[in-house]
Point group: D2
Chain length 171, copies 4
């Protein structure tokens, strides 16, 4: 069976990941708004719908899906008290030295090349839009978002990089 | 309080990680034997004890400890059937496309610079010593070693890189 | 102007990169043979032409093209004695601790996700096919291949990862 | 000869790298000021001298030295018109899609673990202190700083990560 390059990645798993993100309080539109905020100054005519399409494409990549499934599972298991100690407490505290959340986010950002790193770091520090909400909710009422905020920043950074690559080509 | 550069990392957490590795069937000596196997041709006079010291030093790094704690927790939670689906089944099957196990292993290998990547990839493919046992045990009797074999390869690769850096300096 | 996802990357630059590789003694077929050697046991029915197509697709990625242009330029400049010291001598000696050649190769391998790291490390150590020739030629008659052998291994590893992603999907 | 863990890296090459940075308009104090700006809110009592020490320690790592030597050489060779086309023009234009400058900077940031990525991305976007000067000077009067500004951001991010690791340990 011949398979086209753009048909390769997992489409059904994407729908599962999108549902999981919504369950954790993140709509694709929230991610698209971050993309728009960081990319609009570089791309005249950029629309929120264009950003939404880019987020949707990023979520087709298997590596992205697996990073999201893994990080969100760790957040959920930490909430349920099922992660062995001392890791459980480290995840609940969202320790700034933990770093494995950033490692997973970078696996996402990598997929569109190294220009995404800059966007990821900036987002992780500035916590634009939904990122601030996720970060502030983490720890409140037993909620753990240690991985989720970094992963969402990673997806937004990747979607912005993807737009930048397209835009420069189409010029 | 003044802190020396070489005193920084977590020493107590190291002992916990070593106990956890033993619980999962990996002694430091097993890792040292891998290091010896890949490094002995490059360093005349290298001893197994020298390799053991290097493994012990690698385990002092916080990033290494966190990667090990996280990956081994995922293996254990998958064994207990506590990882949400479809991730639970992906971990149990040790799917070759999963890739997040390699991502964590590379966070370990990174700590001694990029020359460790080569050793990691070679070990991951050739499965020297304990790596073959871990890989074969994975899936047997409900055992999940999806992360463990990559993480151990990552520690061995980092310890070999550390020796290479020292040896070239001491020449 | 609407741009399809698979139309994004630089096509003309690809032809330039292919000509540059040939000038340095590497034909796409040489790279395809490496891909075939490492991938054939996992994919029944794989052909050399299928590997060649995959190499050609990898070379369409801008990040891959830039890594190749940069590394090969450094090899050429070192041959001409134009790289400032002590870097010039480090490149000519192909010092095993240098590591920046592996860093560029990993930027290539990254593009198809983390499963490519394993293949890269294995190739870098085993030096299959053209890789052995490149490595042995380096240093002979003023030739510098410090970057080229790692970059070619990186392209082959990426092309193998790409095939693995397709094949698992098509099963 | 016994070699202590903290004696391993190249000390003489560090002095060469420091001289090279000064020749390109960057004093260690400029880098320390960036570190102070991003780290002071997290570490009460942090001093500029403490930041300077951390920058100095980061520059002892061989991987860091090699990344700096390589990137600065490419800037210099591009200024002299010695980099083959089309790479020469890409470097002179400091194309936002080039990305290899970020790849080298991340090899620096990696050395103190993944928490440095966030600082790097933030610095690369906000261009604090000397980073703005370097960026603005690039292109002026034939000056090429395509690699230098990213590399300096990478060193500052690594020095900040190193301080964060020490500070949390000493608490």
């Amino acid at each position: 069976m011949a398979v086209e390059a753009h048909d390769v990645e997992g489409r059904d798993l994407r729908e599962h990941v999108i549902a999981l993100l919504e369950e954790r309080g993140v709509r694709l539109r929230d991610i698209a708004e971050i993309v728009y905020a960081i990319q609009k100054d570089y791309q005249p005519g950029l629309t929120l719908d264009g950003c939404l399409d880019s987020v949707y494409e990023v979520l087709r990549k298997r590596e992205v899906q697996y990073a999201l499934l893994t990080g969100i599972a760790l957040d959920q298991l930490a909430e349920r008290g099922q992660v062995p100690e001392p890791l459980g407490s480290i995840l609940i505290a969202d320790s700034p030295l933990y770093g494995i959340d950033e490692v997973l986010a970078l696996a996402i950002t990598n997929v569109y090349g190294s220009i995404g790193f800059t966007n990821f770091g900036y987002l992780d520090k500035r916590k634009i839009g939904i990122l601030a909400e996720l970060h502030n909710l983490g720890g409140a009422g037993g909620r753990v978002n240690t991985f989720l905020d970094d992963l969402v920043a990673g997806v937004a950074a990747a979607a912005a990089s993807r737009l930048a690559h397209h835009w420069h080509h189409a010029e």
